[in-house]
């Protein structure tokens, strides 16, 4: 039942463009591999382009690492591990990591601008969330370096060796900090590959690592795509694999390292249930829905992509949601007023659009906000589907875009059942004013992170990771240390 009384958001006072300046940043025309403390050309001399998804313009040319480059990198990491890094006092190791954190804070605006240019996320997100959180992760883990014995009662923690790490394109610098900081704090050295569509902030991080004076080979960066990643996974000189990306690739990795004795952690996909009870603070719950699926263009593994609204307030919630969607600004990621930026790549946009088509073919009702989008670049308006149930493909499969599937529910038990009715188990959201209900829901939802009366909140002290096909292992907090250590009796 649509409400007759409507609010008008599209005329009258508009926000003039407020673009972030790019004068103060430097992006090189070409980036080499960062191995053994210096930049070197890839063995096969091949490069690939990284483009700005908002304009489709090329930004830079980046080295393509092949297995011989990966081999060099692993050797450098091993040398650094056996040499200066493991011989250093833990407190001194910690101080190197503090330096990375400090320099990131000093260069924050440059990193935020480049992150938005390379990946498409709004400058507001990269400035206010990605970069500060990345620095905070380095600060947090720096402090653990000389305190590991307190985290594991009855055990003596020892480093593992060389960590091979592969990270995704949705939070490039932040994911780099999630991987590198704990690895280094625990005394390991690193070979890391950023996603092929978002290599630039990692290359700037290489500068930071060099400026911080870290011994050569402690962190090595090899850029490339799937084959480069496979070379890291397959390399016998790597002791531990850390991967964040799709469940499909996670499966491939788990098979590839079977029997090798390599330790591994996987942060994979999700299809989180965001559950709103009738007694929730509804306006804030609507904000939580928006935060859960539309910000960062929905490119979030823990996105609240399945909304469950208690039936008695469903119409009201959907109406408020539609109103709120009308105030979301989709556009130039470098405009400080942009809420939702560009889809990261042509192929991701294709994936999202195919799901929009599937949803409509399945008979679901699609609604999109009426905002304009620029002509060039990859864009998707905030979208919701109603008239769906658990059997729809758009409800089961991860879309990784600003697309929300909405269902109703009647009782708490039904909410729990439907929330758990998925092979995924990364996150979940619960909105209710009643404390006991919160604890009952959090107790019974099978997911690694549950947000009550909030969503998409991250902190370096707070462990993150999934149940079931959303992955294995935890990153962040005290619980994020174990993955990078051998615990001796």
């Amino acid at each position: 039942m649509e409400n007759q009384n409507k609010l008008a958001f599209n005329d009258g006072w508009q926000y003039a463009p407020a673009p972030e300046s790019t004068d103060h940043i430097r992006i090189d025309k070409q980036y080499e591999l960062f191995i053994d403390g210096d930049f070197s050309a890839p063995d096969e001399g091949r490069y690939f382009e990284t483009i700005n998804p908002a304009t489709e313009e090329p930004l830079s040319s980046v080295a393509l690492a092949t297995s011989s480059d990966v081999d060099r990198a692993v050797k450098a990491a091993r040398k650094a591990y056996k040499g200066p890094w493991s011989r250093m006092k833990a407190a001194e190791r910690g101080k190197y990591i503090f330096r990375i954190a400090r320099i990131l804070q000093e260069r924050a605006r440059e990193f935020a601008t480049i992150e938005s240019l390379d990946g498409g996320k709004p400058i507001r997100e990269s400035r206010d969330i990605d970069i500060p959180l990345a620095a905070a992760h380095f600060f947090y883990y720096a402090g653990w370096a000389d305190k590991l014995e307190y985290a594991f009662p009855g055990r003596t923690p020892k480093s593992l060796g060389v960590a091979g790490q592969i990270i995704p394109w949705n939070f490039p610098l932040l994911m780099a900090s999630w991987k590198i900081a704990p690895a280094l704090a625990c005394g390991n050295t690193v070979v890391i590959k950023p996603a092929e569509t978002t290599p630039l902030t990692m290359m700037k991080l290489a500068e930071v690592i060099r400026d911080a004076g870290l011994p050569d080979g402690v962190v090595n960066i090899v850029t490339g795509a799937g084959e480069t990643g496979a070379a890291i996974v397959d390399h016998p000189g790597v002791d531990k694999i850390a991967f964040t990306g799709s469940t499909n690739v996670g499966r491939i990795i788990q098979r590839a390292i079977a029997g090798t004795g390599k330790k591994y952690t996987l942060e994979l996909g999700g299809k989180a249930a965001n559950i709103i009870f009738a007694d929730a603070a509804l306006d804030q719950a609507v904000e939580g829905i928006v935060n859960g699926i539309f910000f960062n263009q929905g490119h979030v593994c823990c996105a609240g992509s399945r909304l469950f609204v208690q039936e008695s307030v469903a119409d009201e919630v959907v109406q408020r949601l539609k109103e709120r969607m009308e105030t979301l600004i989709v556009g130039n990621p470098l405009d400080k007023n942009t809420d939702i930026g560009a889809i990261n790549s042509a192929s991701q946009l294709e994936t999202i659009e195919s799901y929009l088509k599937i949803g409509q073919e399945e008979g679901a009702e699609m609604y999109q906000s009426s905002c304009s989008v620029p002509d060039r670049g990859y864009w998707c308006r905030p979208t919701i589907f109603t008239g769906v149930s658990q059997s729809n493909r758009i409800v089961q499969e991860e879309i990784f875009g600003p697309v929300l599937a909405i269902q109703t529910f009647r009782t708490l038990e039904e909410g729990i059942t439907k929330a758990n009715n998925t092979p995924f188990g990364l996150s979940g959201g619960v909105w209710t004013d009643k404390g006991s209900k919160i604890f009952k829901m959090t107790q019974q939802i099978r997911a690694g992170v549950i947000w009550a009366n909030t969503f998409n909140k991250f902190d370096p002290t707070s462990p993150f990771g999934g149940y079931k096909e959303s992955g294995v292992g935890r990153e962040g907090g005290l619980h994020g240390l174990g993955a990078y250590l051998r615990l001796e009796a």
Partner: protein
């Protein structure tokens, strides 16, 4: 016309540090700090009970804000203190030398102090994870225990260690969210006053740390008996018994740290943070 006289240096006035300001002692008294050849190094404030009273008021006022600041922020401030001290490395070394510490030992002490601040800065957002617990009670309740700052802590700093001993007791107290009033070493008081200057430029809110100089014999009783102080740290075995008797009046927590070798790595650990923390346990039903 040329002059052959050397440049006349401008000597520092050593005051006390209360509520983010540097007043002289309200008593107007002083004691002369002398070196081994009996020449005066400086006139040092002879702090009074009224100074102490004012400091406790300041510490209490600052407590609500400091204890509710995020762990991240407190950690960042401790890093900043370390940064500011590192920048004043030479000043602190020569000040210790002036007070009779050998140059090599002074350098080691200053560097150990900086590293100790970094050490505790790193604990700010971790000690809660190590010492808290979710308790598996047998009823349908979510039950969790967390640490909370005890409040205003008075500290009788070690007499033998003018800088490292001082900071080794301040840092774990404040990183845990407490505010403090500190009586500096009587033998080596200057570093404490200069350390107050470092605190002052490090974004430490006014009143979080207050530093007095004076006679231990005169002031220890005040530090131990004040009814609005929640805990007292004593670093001298001879006074522990008297302190415990005075402290009993408001069940003040008495923390005796007399035998610690502050220069050793074993003198820094998270249990020193736990010493000035309370444990709060909360219950909440789990149900619909």
């Amino acid at each position: 016309m040329t002059s052959t006289t050397a440049r006349v240096p401008v000597a520092k006035t050593y005051k006390i540090y209360i509520d983010g300001k540097f007043p002289r002692t309200e008593s107007g008294r002083y004691f002369a700090l002398k070196d081994s050849s009996d020449s005066i190094i400086a006139n040092v404030c002879l702090g009074s009970r009224k100074d102490f009273r004012n400091a406790v008021v300041a510490a209490r006022k600052a407590f609500a804000g400091w204890s509710s600041a995020s762990a991240y922020l407190r950690g960042q401030i401790l890093y900043r203190i370390a940064e500011m001290l590192e920048g004043r490395h030479e000043q602190f070394v020569s000040e210790l030398v002036t007070q009779g510490v050998g140059r090599r030992a002074a350098k080691k002490e200053v560097e150990a102090t900086i590293d100790r601040l970094i050490y505790y800065a790193g604990w700010s957002d971790k000690y809660q994870q190590v010492f808290s617990a979710v308790n598996p009670v047998s009823s349908s309740h979510f039950n969790f225990s967390v640490l909370e700052a005890t409040g205003v802590v008075s500290i009788i700093a070690p007499d033998d260690s003018g800088l490292l001993g001082l900071v080794s007791n301040i840092a774990p107290a404040i990183v845990g969210g407490n505010t403090c009033v500190v009586l500096a070493s009587e033998k080596l008081p200057l570093s404490a006053v200069s350390f107050a200057e470092v605190l002052h430029v490090s974004d430490v809110p006014a009143g979080v740390v207050n530093i007095l100089t004076g006679h231990r014999e005169e002031l220890t009783g005040q530090f131990a008996s004040h009814m609005d102080v929640n805990a007292i740290i004593v670093t001298d075995n001879d006074v522990v018994k008297d302190v415990q008797i005075s402290a009993a009046e408001n069940i003040k927590r008495v923390i005796a740290r007399a035998d610690t070798k502050w220069g050793s790595d074993s003198a820094q650990h998270p249990y020193l943070i736990q010493d000035t923390q309370e444990v709060k346990t909360t219950w909440h039903p789990i149900g619909s």
